[in-house]
């Protein structure tokens, strides 16, 4: 089902002096979705959010909200509440007054204001702190106040600028669940800016990955994880082994490139098939890459490697190895799967995977 478009960016450019923060951006935000905008610092993700909130004016292009251009609207005439990284709670107001603020600005009467504020405080499970000062609250409680303050006006869209970055890991996961549930229950469109892959991928329906002011890929977390569209995305996610080289063979059923360590094949349909001899990049997820002592038989890509070391991450481990030419290959496995392998630095092994697990990304 095609959902309605709530926000559209049409050829939006943002320059600060000679620095181009956002270049020619075209994308849409659908009504009721949880959209994460992800990228490393300076990629333009926060600028994008601030343009939507009306805190920065686009240098070129049009931003539409519900079909109407909003470029010329100052932020105080838009209904695009935002949750700041610093939360930006007013220290001179108590919790309830903070939540009532936006209602007061809309001219809502005192009794009604109080009722609605308390309703949201209750929903966020912080009603008991209503008369406290902001300074007396913990990080998680402040987070809830900030959310209540923005949601009390029941907006169509909520903008969040790295709101969880100051929390410790356990609290972060807890707040992720709060956010996700809140979004599902209210149906409000969430636009969530973050540099954290785990935050974006665990909450969002769709993820926008940005780099140097450009959108690299838009898609569901599964799509992006399984099929990074550009070399940047594959690198950024860090979960793929990446091979680049000239194309030596193409067919309707795949392609082959030549690397310093030997041929790497891809089996399956390829959108935008590169020409013979052109530079192409093939990736394979580290979870789909295997290691063995004996050279595997059959229709697989095989590269001889030497173990560099391993890294434990909870139930899984990542083995780092390198080919003769020094190309790094990582393999993620559960501890059980690794039990039979001799893993010590310098150990020669074979890295292999099925060509049907190979994935072609656009050049660059």
């Amino acid at each position: 089902m095609q959902r309605d478009t709530l926000v559209s960016f049409e050829g939006v450019v943002k320059r600060f002096g000679t620095f181009v923060a956002v270049q020619k951006m075209d994308f849409e935000i659908r009504k009721g979705e949880f959209l994460a905008i992800m990228g490393s610092s300076g990629c333009g993700k926060t600028t994008t959010l601030r343009m939507l909130a009306g805190l920065e004016a686009p240098s070129e292009g049009t931003i539409r909200l519900s079909g109407k251009p909003i470029n010329h609207l100052p932020t105080w005439e838009r209904d695009t509440p935002m949750v700041w990284q610093s939360l930006a709670l007013f220290p001179f107001l108590n919790v309830r007054e903070n939540v009532e603020f936006a209602l007061k600005m809309r001219g809502v009467g005192k009794a009604e204001r109080r009722r609605r504020a308390e309703q949201w405080l209750d929903r966020m499970q912080i009603l008991e702190f209503a008369e406290r000062n902001i300074a007396q609250l913990s990080g998680g409680q402040r987070q809830r106040v900030a959310l209540a303050r923005s949601l009390v006006v029941e907006p169509e869209i909520l903008l969040l600028d790295e709101p969880l970055s100051a929390l410790d890991a356990a609290l972060k996961v807890r707040m992720q669940a709060v956010l996700k549930n809140l979004q599902r229950e209210t149906g409000i469109t969430f636009v969530y800016v973050t540099h954290s892959q785990s935050e974006a991928f665990s909450m969002a329906d769709r993820v926008v990955i940005m780099s140097r002011g450009r959108i690299e890929q838009i898609g569901s977390p599964q799509e992006i994880y399984g099929a990074p569209r550009t070399r940047f995305v594959a690198d950024f996610l860090g979960s793929s082994n990446i091979f680049t080289g000239p194309v030596t063979a193409t067919s309707g059923q795949g392609l082959e490139i030549s690397t310093k360590d030997g041929p790497v094949r891809l089996a399956g349909p390829v959108a935008a098939m590169p020409g013979q001899g052109a530079e192409a990049t093939i990736t394979v997820l580290d979870t789909k890459t295997h290691l063995s002592v004996a050279r595997p038989e059959g229709d697989v890509n095989v590269l001889p490697v030497r173990v560099i070391g391993e890294e434990f991450i909870g139930a899984t481990a990542t083995i780092y190895a390198e080919t003769d030419s020094g190309h790094e290959i990582k393999v993620q496995k559960s501890h059980d799967e690794l039990a039979s392998l001799p893993i010590s630095a310098g150990q020669p092994l074979f890295a292999w995977w099925s060509p049907s697990d190979s994935h072609h990304v656009g050049a660059a």
């Binding site: 909130a53 009306g54 805190l55 100052p74 932020t75 105080w76 005439e77 695009t80 509440p81 935002m82 700041w84 610093s86 930006a88 007013f90 220290p91 001179f92 107001l93 603020f101 936006a102 600005m105 809309r106 000062n133 300074a135 007396q136 303050r149 006006v153």
Partner: protein, 281 residues
């Protein structure tokens, strides 16, 4: 718990302690003692008599002067704060970093010249045939009696305290978290309303302290009420000089001075309490 007074700490706090004793505690103690002395035949005698306190507090002229001085200082604190705020707001939020440094420098320059000189130069502008009246005469107005009025005293008070109030306000305004202002805008709070809803509450401590400094400076000022206000109405500082001149009544002057100090202590205490009200440590 045992308390240690380290020799190191003592050495470095000693100058402050000595300074406090020499220039504050001793003179104050002397002033208190003096207020109980008596005067006979134009000569002061050490004594312990409450007569000076009773005499001064039962004189309507004293309470009149007290009321005038308090009202003038309160009015100056309010007027200066209101006039200085747009100025410090503009310097804090509308200027570039370089321009802001220049503005601060320009605010410091008035302190290079004596306050008395600046007040005298106001006479040249405000007197009956002064610069303002001559200019008004060109368009057929006036002359207006501007010198020796309460308005002229206020001009003097502004001259005294305006740059300081701007600087004090500025220091609290520049430290306001800009995201608070953005957040207010984001919640439909327009520009002007944000000043009242967010900027002023955020800078409350600095704004109150600035007004307090203005009150303290003007409450004890002698120069402006005499040279611009013409000594009428009488303020407490004028009353002090009059009292000392007439019959060597230094003990009565001490009563006035001590009343002023007590007033300032109470006002300062209330102002600081107001400034930090509702703030948790």
């Amino acid at each position: 718990m045992q308390r240690h007074v380290s020799l190191y700490g003592l050495t470095f706090s000693l100058p402050l302690l000595i300074w406090q004793l020499l220039f504050f505690v001793f003179p104050l103690a002397f002033l208190v003692a003096l207020s109980f002395w008596t005067v006979k035949n134009f000569a002061m005698r050490p004594d312990f008599d409450t007569v000076n306190w009773v005499t001064m507090f039962s004189r309507p002229v004293f309470w009149q002067a007290y009321g005038t001085t308090f009202a003038l200082a309160g009015g100056a604190a309010l007027l200066t704060s209101v006039l200085a705020f747009p100025c410090s707001y503009a310097i804090a939020f509308k200027l570039s970093d370089t321009a802001r440094r220049w503005a601060v420098f320009l605010m410091v320059i008035p302190f290079f010249t004596s306050y008395l000189v600046r007040v005298y130069s106001w006479q040249i502008f405000l007197s009956d045939n002064g610069i303002f009246n001559v200019m008004l005469g060109w368009i057929g107005l006036g002359p207006f009696g501007m010198l020796n009025t309460v308005g002229a005293t206020m001009v003097g008070y502004l001259t005294l305290s305006f740059p300081l109030v701007v600087l004090l306000q500025l220091f609290s305004l520049v430290f306001i978290d800009r995201t608070l202002i953005e957040a207010a805008h984001n919640m439909r709070c327009g520009r002007l309303r944000t000043v009242f809803e967010v900027v002023i509450p955020s800078a409350r401590v600095g704004l109150t302290i600035a007004a307090l400094f203005c009150f303290i400076l003007t409450f004890g000022d002698f120069v402006s009420p005499v040279y611009l206000g013409g000594g009428d109405p009488t303020t407490l500082s004028i009353l002090i000089t009059d009292t000392t001149k007439s019959g060597q009544q230094w003990p009565r002057a001490a009563v006035i001075a001590l009343t002023m100090i007590a007033t300032l202590l109470v006002v300062a205490f209330l102002a600081v309490r107001f400034a930090y009200k509702g703030r948790s440590k």
